[in-house]
């Protein structure tokens, strides 16, 4: 009783926005219960023509690249050794962990037999991209969970596990990047089976490569978006100087992606590209808004330095990738004479609930756990380890130069 009271009081103290998010999450949870009681057919607009709808297109196919910030930044900071960006890593891991947990929930809701989800681990079919993705998502969620344990252990002052985690840091970062490469690209492989179904504008054998590359620039853009939001609304320090480094990497990745995409569409497709004006417009929107404009924007130094421009560019990239994933998994699959699918109320409420849940849990975690206050030198890592000692030292020194 008292515990419940404490929680209620705590929630009463929250900002109105957070209370709104809580309401959305509760509504989403109720809507997903409705799905289990009345069945998929009644509660969704899915049918034999549209076996996959909003839940697959957004909650899985789009949400996975949106959660790519953790692996991208991990690799940039630890493997390419741009240590300055370290302060951004932890929030990215939290976002990634939340993102992937919600992907798992979304996937389970969409399954006809969610109680059999574990079957993928027992009955292997290595020829299935879905098998590949489910294994990777499970493995990667575990990796993210381990990485996410660091702030939890810090919060409760568990030093032994912290040392283990610290020691595991590099292997985890490398595992994260390798596993992510696999499943980000395999999501593209999903649609390689849709021969003669997915329109030529998107269907080509390089789709997996494009999915992987777009995951990288989406990851970077999400970090920019998140850091800017956190600065604006959660009163955390302005990191736009660090984001500038990311804004510098971005146009390169976008340019290579654009080259691959244009090359693939020009040389690796068979059949007509321009027969469906609607799809052509979607394709053009995706490439222009999501790739070309932000690429040109971030090529200019002044734009990279400007926090508002950073946000705008990142926003466009994110919009572009969302549109791209919907184009591939939904719009591009619609045949000329088919009725158009739109999500039902239940489907929409669940997806809105999932997005709200992401924001809500992020804010709550930031509230109760040391996610932004991550300064390795203030934590006792007293491990007799030469390597970590120097690392901490370097960080000090970096700070000094900056100040």
């Amino acid at each position: 009783m008292t515990a419940a009271k404490i929680i209620i009081n705590e929630i009463k103290g929250y900002h109105r926005f957070l209370q709104f998010m809580i309401a959305l999450v509760v509504i989403g949870a109720l809507a997903s219960m409705v799905r289990f009681i009345f069945g998929l057919g009644v509660t969704t607009n899915l049918n034999d023509t549209y076996p996959w709808g909003l839940w697959i297109s957004f909650d899985v196919v789009t949400a996975v690249p949106l959660a790519a910030g953790a692996f991208t930044l991990g690799a940039i900071v630890h493997c390419f050794h741009i240590k300055k960006l370290e302060p951004l890593v932890r929030p990215a891991i939290v976002t990634g962990f939340l993102g992937y947990s919600l992907v798992c929930i979304g996937l389970l809701l969409d399954l006809g037999q969610p109680q059999r989800g574990w079957h993928t681990m027992v009955y292997w079919n290595v020829h299935s991209p879905m098998f590949e993705v489910s294994m990777c998502v499970m493995a990667y969620t575990t990796v993210l969970f381990l990485e996410f344990l660091s702030p939890v252990c810090e919060k409760f002052g568990y030093h032994m596990p912290l040392r283990v985690l610290r020691w595991l840091e590099m292997p985890l970062v490398i595992a994260a990047a390798s596993i992510s490469t696999l499943h980000q690209s395999s999501l593209g492989t999903f649609f390689l089976i849709a021969v003669d179904k997915l329109h030529n504008l998107w269907y080509n054998p390089l789709l997996p490569l494009q999915f992987w590359m777009s995951a990288i620039f989406t990851g970077i853009s999400i970090i920019i978006l998140e850091a800017t939001m956190v600065h604006r609304y959660l009163g955390q320090p302005d990191e736009s100087e660090l984001l500038e480094i990311l804004a510098k990497i971005l146009p390169w990745v976008l340019a290579v992606y654009l080259a691959v995409k244009v090359g693939a569409v020009a040389f690796l497709t068979h059949g007509s590209l321009f027969d469906r004006p609607g799809l052509l417009a979607l394709f053009a929107a995706e490439v222009l808004i999501g790739v070309i404009i932000p690429m040109l924007m971030f090529m200019k130094q002044s734009n990279r330095e400007d926090s508002r421009m950073q946000l705008r560019g990142a926003g466009m990239v994110i919009f572009g990738v969302i549109l791209n994933r919907f184009n591939v998994s939904m719009f591009g699959m619609i045949q000329p004479d088919q009725v158009i699918y739109y999500p039902s109320v239940t489907e929409s409420l669940v997806t809105i609930g999932i997005i709200a849940g992401h924001i809500l849990f992020f804010v709550l975690l930031a509230k109760y756990f040391p996610i932004f206050e991550h300064h390795p030198e203030t934590v006792d890592y007293s491990m007799p380890d030469h390597f970590h000692a120097t690392e901490a030292h370097e960080h000090d020194q970096g700070k000094g130069v900056e100040a």
């Binding site: 998929l40 057919g41 034999d48 493997c79 006809g112 299935s128 991209p129 490398i174 990047a177 030469h386």
Partner: protein
Amino acid sequence: MSSADMDVTKHKTFLIDTTKCTGCRGCQVACKQWNQLKAEKTVFFSGEGYQNPPAMTEHTFTRIKFRDYEKNGQNEFAFYKEMCMHCNEPACASVCPVGAFVKSPEGPVIYNASRCIGCRFCMIACPFGIPKYEWSKAFPLVKKCTGCYSRIKEGLEPACATACPTAITYGSREEMIKEAERRLKNRPQRYFQAIYGKEEAGGTSILYLTHQPLDELGFKKVTTRPLPSYTWQALRLVPGIFLTMGGGLSLLSWFNHRKERIRQEEGFKNSKVQPEKKDEMKGDNQ
């Protein structure tokens, strides 16, 4: 699961001669009876022409499609039996994460309902749009023509083939192809010169002969390359990419950390030494 190691020539195969089909729909009824499928409420002209029900569903594994056409100023019908093609290399089986669909050694592509997790990838993958879902249920499974596997295990022929008075011949794939070619040769004016299913989707255990050009009858034009090969060309690279990525990044970080440590040990003056790309980036911003 891939049938590369299977002898497809021995697979039980339907030869469906649409020029001999009378549109009696005996196969449709036999299939319902044998598989104990629920009747569907249907109305005339709810789909194209006389065909009924308007679509294949969880309750309908096969149906006769009707096509109206004109011959010498007369209205004529053409019929086409729609069912699972029992592909030699089935897309539905290759994409299923739990291997619920398998190509049986006898020929039919069979479904293990107790494995299925209900992800509906098979429905996306099938080039003929065959697997259907139990949308009415809270915990749905997939439904499609079984090829009457239980019957052929007992030495019987499929229910629909048994019921058909004229059009369906059933036997090994090798013989059925021979028979089809014989008919094409003997009566060239009767047949459109193609065997649908011989090459489609890499070859199937259902073969069709028609009078009309295939597209006029509503046959889908599908690739002749087995569909699983489209995804496999990417998936087969997975172990290699994993190792390259893991190894590459490990090397890179080992190298970068080592460089860092050496620099640290030798004092700060060494930071001028041969600035590399990443260092440049870092240097710019410091």
